[in-house]
Amino acid sequence: MDAPPAFCRQLLDVIPRLRRYTRALTFDPAAADDLSQQALERALAHWRQFDPQREMGVWLLSIAHNAHLDTIRRESRVSVTDPADLQRVQDDRQADNSHTPGLRLDLEAALARLPAEQRQPLLLVCVEQLSYAEVAAVMRIPIGTVMSRVCRGRAAMRQFLDGHSQAARPPSVTQLKRVV
């Protein structure tokens, strides 16, 4: 049996939010939409698991989160913080002058340097405005862990933005070549 129309409507409503989170996770609009599509397909396939008491947005974010982890695991040699790839993304952005490159890059570059385990909770809290308890449920980690990862993530990001990036830059830059 297919998902009921009410479920589909709710799902459609939260697509923009899903796209925002996947974009923040991947920095790459195309990869982000692939991830969003995977999440939507999974949500539809498992619509019976959705508890109507819960918020659809949070449920879908947790599906996207897991899909993202699967992608990372599957393509374990692809790093979302790959500096070479990041440079390409930055070049693309600079060519597109409908944005403000100087401002955007600082923040995205700082974000990209965070390990995924810190970036994810930081984005869920700051961008998606989830509570620590909700993040804990999405990531399946204890609340205390959410608290410390958010803290370490934002402290590191601030350091990058302040220009203390040299010390914290990943040392193995050349090993992170993207292989697709």
């Binding site: 129309p5 697509i15 397909e41 955007r104």
Partner: protein, 296 residues
């Protein structure tokens, strides 16, 4: 700040851990812990600066990804969400021809369902198009520039207020008369200004600060031809902004302050506006004075 301190359980004595400050920024503490953090911040200006920066970062992150919400959703995603499958060709053909009774029944059902799903998709599209009209790109940029630079304790501006050429320099660069508005009656002093990229053009940002170190920024740019004069208010989390366009200049006043305060500041700026004839644009037409007719 003692970084090694792991006392986050809310014991009454002892220093406040960095994690607790972070949780405070996210509004995750109970009232008792919140009070302790507030007392601590009162006596520790360095930590106060730190949480101020974190708070601004939180805001900046949100602003940064906010525009994604306004983008039209790619059709592939709409299809994925409604699991739209085009009805099988044989069913359509059978329904259209009405040759086979069973074929017509099956095919008709398929078409009906398909149309239902199209309807859901169109609704979603419509909703998005409405949402897209709420904020213009430059307003987002003004908000983002605000979030980035108010967080800078020492490098908030490029040119300090004392330097005489600030106004002349910015006026020349953005091709809009830049006046250094006097907001002292509202308790705000000019910190200085900076030049910013604004899409394909340039914009100027003036920063003001009050006695409690609260900051507001004024974003100025040359508007696109034919942009209608309008006065609007938008709230993005803690940050509110009034923005308006007059002939010759677009203004956005941005700050994490109550709407009334922002309105008072906007009105003060509006009252001091340089007549457009002084600058690049030749018209002196003045739109109606700002009123609290926020769009939200």
């Amino acid at each position: 700040m003692n970084m090694d301190d792991k006392n986050t359980s809310g014991a009454p004595a002892g220093p406040i851990s960095e994690e607790m400050l972070s949780a405070w920024v996210d509004g995750e503490l109970n009232s008792e812990a919140r009070a302790r953090v507030q007392a601590w911040l009162h006596d520790h200006p360095q930590d106060q600066a730190l949480v101020g920066a974190w708070r601004a970062d939180r805001e900046a992150l949100q602003q940064h990804f906010q525009p994604v919400l306004q983008e039209p959703v790619p059709p592939a995603l709409l299809a994925a969400a409604s699991r739209r499958r085009d009805p099988p060709r044989w069913a359509l053909a059978a329904a259209a021809a009405g040759l086979l009774l069973t074929g017509a029944l099956v095919g008709g059902g398929g078409v009906w369902k398909w149309q239902q799903q199209r309807h859901v998709e169109q609704l979603a599209l419509q909703r998005q198009q409405l949402a897209a009209g709420s904020a213009q790109g430059w307003v987002q940029r003004a908000a983002f520039a605000h979030s980035v630079y108010v967080a800078e304790p020492r490098h908030a501006v490029e040119v300090k207020a004392q330097e005489e050429h600030l106004s002349r320099w910015l006026t020349r660069r953005i091709n809009v008369p830049v006046k250094l508005f006097d907001l002292q009656a509202q308790g705000f002093e000019l910190v200085g200004g900076r030049l910013l990229p604004d899409g394909p053009g340039k914009s100027a940002q003036l920063m003001y600060q009050d006695a409690q170190q609260r900051r507001v920024t004024v974003y100025l740019r040359k508007p696109e031809e034919g942009t209608p004069a309008a006065f609007r208010f938008e709230q993005h989390g803690p940050v509110g902004m009034f923005y308006w366009v007059e002939e010759g200049a677009g203004y956005a006043l941005v700050g994490a302050l109550p709407k009334e305060t922002l309105l008072a500041l906007s009105q003060a700026i509006h009252a001091q506006m340089v007549p457009a004839s002084v600058g690049a644009a030749a018209s002196a037409a003045q739109p109606a004075a700002p009123a609290a007719s926020g769009s939200r």
